[in-house]
Amino acid sequence: MSLLHLAIVLPFLAAVFIPFLFKGLRTIHTGWFVLLVPLALFIYFIQYLPLTGGGQTVTKTFQWIPSLGIDFTAHVDGLGLLFALLITGIGTLVVLYSIYYLAKEKEALHNFYVYLLMFMGAMLGVVLSDNLIVLYMFWEFTSISSFLLIGYWYDRERSRYGAQKSMLITVFGGLSMLGGIVLLYLMGGTFSIQELAGMSGTLITDPLFVPALLLILLGAFTKSAQFPFHIWLPDAMEAPTPVSAYLHSATMVKAGIYLVARMSPVFAESGLWLWLVAGFGIFTLFWGSFNAVKKTDLKAILAFSTISQLGLIMSLLGVGAAALHYDYLDENIYMIATIAAVFHLINHATFKGALFMMVGIVDHETGTRDIRKLGGLVTLMPITFTIAIIGSFSMAGIPPFNGFLSKEMFLAAMISIIEVDVFNLNTWGYLFPVLAWVGSVFTFVYSIMLVYKTFLGKAQFEKLPKKPHEAPIGMLISPLILIALVIVFGFFPNLLSNSMIKPAVEAILPALGDAGQEVYVNIYFWHGFTPELFMTLGVVLIGIVLYSTLPKWQGIYNRIPERLTLNGFYDKGLAGSETGGYRLTNGVMSGFMRTYLVYIFSFFVAILLATLFIRGAFLFDTADLAQIEPYEVVLAIVLAASAITILFAKTRLMSFISLGAVGYSIALFFVFFGAPDLALTQLVIETVSVALFLLCFYHLPEISRKEERMGFRFGNALLAVLVGLTVTLLAFSSFSYRSFESISQYHIENVYDLAAGGNMVNVILVDFRGFDTLFEIAVLGVAALGIYAMIRFRAVRSENE
């Protein structure tokens, strides 16, 4: 176990001590101790920057289950390190923020920080694991810890609903992903992503390639809230705001992005991958931004904004895959898409984290997040307002902030996809820039809405539950650091380009490096009068027009009835599966013995008859038959007649007597077939049985003495005849198929020499196969005890009555 492994599991180890620190040191906020963990990890991971910047990677293996090919292999490359720095860096800021956000007197802090540390460790494990099974393990850890964090205030009904919803959706995706991982293992024979990436050329011809691709993408799309799985994210906003900022904007929702980026070397050669990732991403971008405008809760707006921005990054990763199809180009225009994806990933983490913290401050200081009650806070909360306006402008893509740069690159990438002719979808390709542009317009509208409705406009403090004032400085530190980064990355984007973006892009598109293409990252503000610049101008102009006429067209959102929304489908589906399951069980389990017997006999008949005839197993061979004697025919007729008499008997007495007749006929058959012991036993036992039946008959209570003939039911009769027929046919064919001689010759030859007996049946019973007899005696003994107990012990019931 190396230091790198220790770094990954450090949050788990630290989590063990949190409850003790919380209980033991009540005077100090537990968050201060927690703060050390992500800070130390952040500093530790910074050390790897020069290494990955130089194109090197670090791989450390810790054996876990070597016999199954499952080892905890930590692999640090540009992509993994970028995520690790995001996780630990924003983790540090979120912990700092939460110290001021959550009161140590009122909240169950030990739970909160244990869940948060567990999440942090899980997330580090996801991004630094090379082994897919280990990655899956950490992946599910993030689902579980997210579930616990969303349900942190578990006494609220909405929290439990949101936690359950996110759990169901992300675990559904996680399990699909596990299916994809298993398929990949079947194809490649390894769980290592690096080794699988090396085989991508052969994997693509495998018939399992497309199912594996779809299953892995399902996992990524559910985790990263892509359409139509985005519905869990807005409900996850019931979590405390630091959790929303950390999990549901900067880290966990990017696990799906990470997975798509990480698996790109394996799958991206396929055109299907390109169109699925880009298509779902661009539609999610449009759908998320379109829906964000109608929300009135600040966190809900940010949730839909996150969905939309994740769609943006996803579509860029999809378009970036086109670079592999055109790797002969001198200046590969598709490479810019991947660069933009990585750049926007960083940018989104900075401004979205800051915006969530800003909303948390507003909520904390005013008591509400509803934009219909807020307004005019600018004079009271100037610092928060600054954070909000920079974050929002960056999100809207307005210069000079970093969002502008990545949005320009995004639009450029979307225009370039028109020229892609994989699958010959050229005409559909035009949808990409159009949707991207429309999505950007709505992004602009809700970003402006976020700032104006909260801080500007009419002040209506009388509606607020609290008297608003500026937040304490401790709460402002984290968002201010993030906002500072927004500005720094905006003005000096090339700070990142060689240290972080280039190694990450090389990790996503290793095939380009092999093809001799240099990843050249140079982000600049002024790139001439290009189409994307005019698109941005259009976004701003149309966005302002749309925002100022918002009340006039907002009515279109109410056109869609609630039950036709995706949430409506989800709720209905969940309720439907419950009632459906209940109805099915109720319908099948009637409570009547007869129903179950009908099932059993029907399946018996159906399966056996079907097997007999489908497999052609029915055989009718008369070669080995014994002679039929006339007296045997007479006896057979007597037996059959008495059996049938039972069915038509008018009185019970008659049926008992017929049953006795059946038994005695069988005893006679035993005599004919050379079985004296059987005949003896059968005679005695039949006599005792009939006596028992008569005893029962005699003691019947008055009510049941109504003697009546059995009513005829056609269904029962048909089923009974079919069972009889099946047994007969089976008997015919199994007799005709006798393939080898009986072992009885051994018993016949050795009965006297080995066992000193002449009666072979008795010798078999007590000597050759004596164990059967022992337990048969046990059965009789148990039956006798049971009968005694049933008759004797009835005290409990009479006491209760």
């Binding site: 059996a643 079985a675 059995m710 027929l725 015919f732 078999i764």
Partner: protein, 113 residues
């Protein structure tokens, strides 16, 4: 002979299943007894019914009936007797306690539904 016995076994099974599907508990027990009879005959039939002497060692006889299925059937008879006896007393007690032998009325109480 074996085919004739197979048909007899089929008839026994038909009667048994028809009785088991009925409402009356006592008829169900009769059905299980018939089912037992059918299985015992089937066991014996399947080992072949070629005439031979009873499986008791005697001089000057080389052809015996197969002793192994006889031993199996003997065990089965005793076990099915034990189960039938238990079942009958159970039915008898059920009559005493519930006052009915109609299976459709024995569906547990409301609280156990």
């Amino acid at each position: 002979m074996e085919f004739l016995m197979s048909i007899i076994v089929g008839i026994l099974f038909t009667c048994a299943v028809y009785l088991i599907l009925s409402k009356s508990l006592i008829r169900i027990i009769i059905g299980t007894v018939l089912l037992g009879h059918g299985s015992h005959l089937l066991l014996l039939t399947m080992s072949g019914l070629k005439s031979g002497s009873a499986p008791v060692l005697m001089d000057n006889i080389s052809e015996y009936a197969d002793p192994l299925p006889q031993a199996l059937v003997l065990t089965a008879i005793v076990i099915s007797f034990g189960v039938t006896a238990f079942f009958l007393v159970l039915a008898y007690r059920a009559y005493q306690e519930l006052g009915t032998d109609n299976m459709e009325q024995m569906r547990g109480t409301e609280s156990h539904d």
